[in-house]
Amino acid sequence: MRRLLFTIVSVIATLGWMRAAQNPQTLRVDVRLVNVVATVADSKGTFVSSLTADDFTLYEDGVAQKIAHFTQDRDVPVSVGIVLDTSGSMTSRIGSATAGITRFIESIHADDDVFIMTFARNVSLVQDFTSDRRKLSRALGSIRIEGGTAFYDGVRHALEKIKEGRHDKKAILVFSDAMDMGSKATLEDVLLNVRRSEVLVYGLGTDQTTYADTSEHVPFTLPTPASAGRGPRNTRPAAGGRGAVASNGVNLKVLNQLSTSSGGQEFLLSGTVMDTGFSRIDAILAQIADEMRSQYTLGYYPSAPDNGQFHSIRVVTRPEYRVRTRAGYQGRE
């Protein structure tokens, strides 16, 4: 009897399987996991790192999404790309930039792997991914100034390179005046790559060195032997305020576009001859290092299928806190 029952069940199961094989049903599961890095700060700008998943609500294209994955990144190692403009405009800043980066590298997580890339006329990988601080420091010491500013090429190459990083969390720090000259890539190419990646981009705008604190003095830069021979410039009254391209020659608009597209941030490294050291660059790099350890990573499976378009992302938390994330992501289909 038991043998008969087993035979009947087996036959039914086999027939069922054969039927299923003859009439396959298409079952499509959208397994796109979208990760969003969220930086939360209070009204004073202090990073908040004590929130839980329940404190966040995440919207894609205005529709609330279920948070499937949540981490607080305090001990999460990061793959970091350092991208340094080595064009002529950086002549007087390269030393303080490399010194600041050296101190930054020494202060970050021991497992963080870092690569160093430079760009001027061409893009060069000065040091491949490594956690060896001595190698990185040596590579920084070998950096030399060149001609040209292939800014977009530099960022695009860095976005490709960072994909090889060992860690899920990835960030790129770009030191440049962002005044591109001679790139093959365009701003649109770079922005598209940023929106498709899950990489944080931090733009550090390095301006021309002014002489002293410009809020207390008339702003000017020191003459050069070449400029001194050219005689006076034409004076033309102009309205005050800060434009997209700052008067100090930094294309902050581009740095801002890259940063907001990725969830990073842009900074202006205003230097003066009267500066006593590298406090400004050190403070900013310390802030970035602190920020990367205070962030949250929120993962979700989008409720709507990917239509290949840009999908906006918005994350909200407790009303007393401000949240910064990437503006969205570019669909692939």
Binding site: T221, P223, A226, S227, G229, P237, G240
Partner: protein
């Protein structure tokens, strides 16, 4: 009693109102400063204008001028600062800010005058001293800059840096070259010695000085800015450079600077021209000792066809071949930027083939000791240098010949009035030899890529690329005079690829005479040549494109030559 009391109260009230109104005026200046800090210049201007109407003050004038400057209304800024300066003649800040305003307009001379006005009011005004010195330093007038700082006993160096890094993190050659110390005042002589050594090491296209204040008054960071030379690689840019070098000099070059971070440099060149084939290899090694010691080892191979029939007493001398291989080892020291001493040994193996007079042939090997010294006699507006070279060849030191000789030269550089941007350079040079000298030790007056005795109307080779159509002899006397005018200063943003460069136009007049005690070459006659050209000056070398013509003979030179600058 009551009236006294009420009068006293009214008085107190008046004083209180006065204090409140003064405080409110100060608060308005503070608000305006905050507005400038936030980039809200229009608001700052309206606040300060209102303050000036009610209660003019030095601060209100000053910050109004600064706010106008920020909003790029330079005329109003200048007028406001000048008015403030006139109303408060004891306040040097107006002159300081006027200097900044003029600098922003690239009016350097006016900026200098304003800062000197500030220093007349307050001779110890630190901002004016620092800015004036920094302007001079930025314009690469290191002497003027350091003299300005010396008004207050500075600059006292707190830390020495290289390209913004601490000196300890920099290349060892930079650490070895530095001729000044921390906690001591930096003097011009010490900087020039540092600079001179760095350039002599051959690794750098440029060396500049930056002086940056520290929080401690009178203490400064000295930042040595360097531009490393780029190694030749097969990038498109390098190929373009090679092609350019080939088209100008018909020579292939290969340079490797700072091999493996050792400071070692190898320069190789090869000229394949059939009539004057030449290969050269030079190894330059800075020595990790004080005094800027450099060891230079070089090898030279020549395979040339000579034709001296035009300059010899006997015009029937047929063209012949000359080959030589030589090695040289020199040790050079720069104890001070004014003094350079070098000594070494040179061995040369020669071979000639063809129908030659006995006196020119059969001299195969020579081993000679060399000694060179150069002293900068004056280094103010007028610069002059004396340079001597001697050599002694003896059979006892690997040679077949005993001979000796030397040259002595005096170089002068006199700038003409500043507005002309011109300079006169002159060289008086003489040379003599004793004993039976080999063919290639004769003094040659002419022009070639690396000529030591310039006579720019005579080319060192003929149209068939055969040596030697220029006057030769065992003794000579030469006078070179060149007037140049600066056309373009391209020293901004030097890089490892492009060295800092100044382009000049030049006109020259050369006079010379050669004497030959061996009786092989023509009797002495006065040689005169004149011409003009373009000069591209880097920190160490000058590349000349010239067109020169002999005023006595039917000879001319059109081409390129390179000379080491002093």
């Amino acid at each position: 009693m009551n009236s006294n009391c009420s009068r006293r109260r009214a008085g107190h009230l008046f004083i209180l109102l006065l204090v409140v109104s003064v405080c409110s005026l100060y608060a308005q200046v503070d608000d305006a400063r905050e507005a400038i800090r936030n980039g809200n210049y229009e608001h700052a201007i309206s606040l300060l204008t209102a303050t000036l109407e009610r209660e003019p003050s030095a601060d209100a004038f000053l910050y109004l001028g600064i706010a106008y400057a920020h909003s790029k209304n330079h005329e109003r800024a200048e007028a406001t600062l000048q008015e403030g300066g006139a109303k408060y003649p004891e306040d040097p800040r107006f002159h300081n800010e006027l200097a900044g305003l003029y600098l922003s307009q690239n009016e350097v001379e006016k900026a200098r005058m304003s800062l000197n006005d500030a220093l007349r009011i307050g001779p110890d005004n630190v901002y004016a001293i620092d800015l004036l010195a920094n302007i001079e330093l930025a314009l690469r007038n290191e002497r003027a800059a350091l003299q300005t700082w010396s008004r207050k006993g500075g600059p006292m160096i707190s830390r020495i840096m290289n390209d913004g890094r601490f000196l300890e993190d920099s290349h060892w050659t930079i650490r070895r070259a530095v001729a000044f110390e921390t906690d001591k005042t930096l003097r011009y002589r010490q900087w020039r010695t540092t600079e001179r050594r760095l350039l002599e090491f051959g690794l750098y296209n440029d060396a500049r000085l930056e002086i940056r204040p520290t929080p401690t008054s009178g203490q400064y960071h000295a930042n040595i800015m360097t531009a490393f030379r780029k190694n030749t690689q097969l990038t498109p840019n390098d190929l373009v450079t090679q092609l350019l070098s080939w088209s100008l000099t018909r020579t292939f070059r290969l340079n490797r600077w700072d091999i493996g971070g050792s400071g070692l440099t190898v320069n190789g060149s090869f000229r394949p021209s059939s009539g004057r084939r030449r290969g050269e290899l030079r190894i330059l090694a800075p020595v990790p000792m004080a005094a800027g010691l450099v060891v230079e080892a070089s090898g030279l191979w020549r395979a040339e066809r000579w034709n001296v029939s035009e300059i010899a007493m006997d015009p029937s001398i047929a063209p012949f071949r000359f080959t030589s291989t030589g090695w040289r080892l020199m040790l050079k020291a720069i104890p001070d930027y004014r003094v350079e001493i070098a000594g070494g040994f040179e061995f040369t193996k020669r071979r000639t083939s063809g129908d030659l007079p006995e006196s020119l042939a059969n001299r195969s090997n020579s081993g000679k000791l060399l000694l060179e010294a150069s002293v900068l006699l004056t280094d103010r507006i007028h610069q002059s240098r004396i340079r001597a070279q001697t050599f002694v060849a003896r059979k006892s030191i690997l040679g077949d010949l005993n001979y000796s000789g030397g040259t002595l030269e005096l170089n002068n550089r006199i700038p003409l009035p500043k507005a002309t941007r011109s300079t006169i350079e002159s060289t008086i040079k003489g040379g003599t030899t004793r004993g039976p000298i080999p063919l290639d030790e004769y003094f040659v007056l002419g022009a070639d890529l690396h000529s030591s005795n310039l006579m720019r109307g005579y080319t060192a080779f003929d149209k068939k690329h055969r040596y030697n159509t220029t006057p030769m002899g065992t003794h000579f006397l030469l006078v070179n005079t060149t007037v140049d005018r600066e056309l373009r200063d391209l020293r901004e943003n030097p890089s490892s690829f492009f060295p800092p460069l100044i382009v000049k136009a030049e006109a020259f007049l050369d006079g010379g005479k050669v004497f030959d005690r061996t009786g092989i070459f023509r009797k002495p006659e006065l040689l005169v040549s004149a011409g003009a050209g373009l000069r591209f000056e880097t920190r160490q070398h000058a590349l000349h494109f010239v067109l020169g013509r002999s005023l006595r003979h039917n000879a001319s030179f059109t081409g390129v030559y390179i000379e080491k600058r002093w």
